[in-house]
Symmetry: C2
Subunit: 297 residues, 2 copies
């Protein structure tokens, strides 16, 4: 692919994500409890963190997979709301003083800074639980299991705790791959699988989307680590350089920035290959793959 073609695709994906965000955010607003209901401060904290910005990448991928595979109906927005809530739950708990101790997220004070630690713990818990309720209302029971496996100790939480335990230690590339795979790729993979499951897709299409998701998920995390090294805090909207400060196990730390960028590009190529077996128009998913390596924050 020519550089200009690649740029055009990344820009198209950014446009797509912006457009779909409007509907995704409206549905999140509908699905989050109102601050007029008790416990109002907790409901406010949940909304504060969910509406702190963010690209809505996971909802966007879920919707794109569902749409490509012929999905119909409004249940998909229960799933997109749930995905963003699960993602926010993980960010809130990751930012806690006892975990990564981050003060900034998406350019604003993190939940425990804006409210307090107890509220941050409970807001994360409440988002996780509410998200499962929303998934249970999709009418497609298997999405609950898909999500729980992606989030659990063999998925996201496993990656997060290993990430914390590896701080300041010398770790090999296998461990970094394991952390990235679990911490980031599992949830992105699940976003695609759930979209496909709600669309009633065939198992072979679900499997192909899962492979695509795993690869772009890994690429996303490699790029994230590169951006942490090369960007400013202002560009990122979160503390830049915090990986190095915490002695985090990252790709740039192990193989350098240039080799990391090359790795991200290879992963995107593999992701695009995985899409070849899907008998549907996967343009949006291809565009998003390009966007993931081109993004600046």
């Amino acid at each position: 692919m020519s550089p200009s073609e690649s740029d055009r695709r990344a820009a198209a994906a950014e446009e797509y994500l912006k457009t779909i965000s409007v509907k995704v955010n409206a549905e999140l607003d509908r699905n989050l409890p109102p601050t007029t209901d008790r416990p109002s401060r907790l409901h406010e904290a949940m909304r504060y963190s969910v509406f702190a910005g963010g690209k809505r990448l996971r909802p966007g991928l879920c919707y794109a997979a569902w749409k490509a595979l012929g999905g119909k109906g409004d249940e998909i927005f229960l799933a997109t709301s749930a995905l963003e809530m699960f993602h926010t739950f993980s960010l809130i708990h990751d930012d806690l003083p006892c975990v990564d101790d981050d003060d900034l997220r998406r350019g604003r004070p993190t939940a425990h800074c804006q409210y307090d630690e107890a509220t941050a713990v409970m807001a994360g818990d409440a988002l996780c639980v509410l998200a499962f309720e929303l998934l249970s209302r999709t009418g497609v029971p298997e999405v609950v299991g898909t999500m729980a496996r992606a989030l659990g100790t063999y998925g996201m939480i496993g990656g997060e705790i290993t990430d914390i335990e590896s701080e300041g230690k010398k770790v090999d590339l296998d461990t970094v791959d394991y952390i990235h795979d679990c911490k980031t790729a599992c949830l992105i993979e699940a976003s695609l699988v759930i979209g496909a499951q709600i669309a009633g897709a065939s198992q072979s299409d679900i499997d192909a989307l899962a492979r695509y998701g795993r690869r772009i998920g890994l690429a996303f995390q490699v790029v994230d680590d590169v951006l942490d090294v090369v960007s400013t805090t202002e560009q990122l909207g979160k503390d830049a350089g915090s990986d190095i400060e915490l002695g985090k196990a990252t790709y740039p730390a192990l193989i350098g920035v240039e080799a990391s960028r090359k790795r991200a590009n290879e992963l995107v190529e593999q992701a695009l290959e995985a899409l070849e077996s899907v008998r549907a128009d996967t343009t949006v998913l291809r565009d998003i793959a390009e966007f993931i390596v081109k993004r600046a924050n």
Copy 2:
């Protein structure tokens, strides 16, 4: 009921809970990830907190409701495992330094003391997520929604955060009722409803069990608060007197110990009345109601 009859019933319930605990614990062991799997320290922390003792009241109620209503099959033990994991998740997060800051639970160091705070946060999260996965495998999709509603901001988490926010403040009996209802009664009610749902019970039986559960749940919390005042730390296996120390909103603080005991007895009477419409042998549930007001820890 004569005092000796009431004692006999409470003793029978205690015996029942002990017996059912053996199977409940064996199934918990089967459903928790092995410590030989990565992330092993987190898996160890999950097991540490789940196997720290405890009466297994919620699994016992779930099983008793299911059995009374003619339940068949092994899926019920996915639900009993899930209920105990949800309960443990809430205890671990409640004990955190930023929440109740408790060092002792069931006579042993709390999770964050035994491991560290980050591990405690993640162990709680992981138990919650795994429990939803287990519920998704029962083959009765509605139990996921039942549970999520009971745990969320209109249920357990709502009660917990209001409990924290009320510390050191003057609160009225309505607020104490709201806190108890949410914090404790919702999960106990859900234990019964889920047992009945898995047994394929009628809606009127489910509703009656829900009413019974709500009443014994409230009674349980009132007795818990009384025990915090009148017992020693050794008897309780957790820090006695901690409610007063934290300025917690409790029944004994508002109306005194004797009036609180009377209130617990009234609630149990109401619970027993609710069982009258259930066309099944509810002996075990009646015994457990007595046990709840008679227990010493």
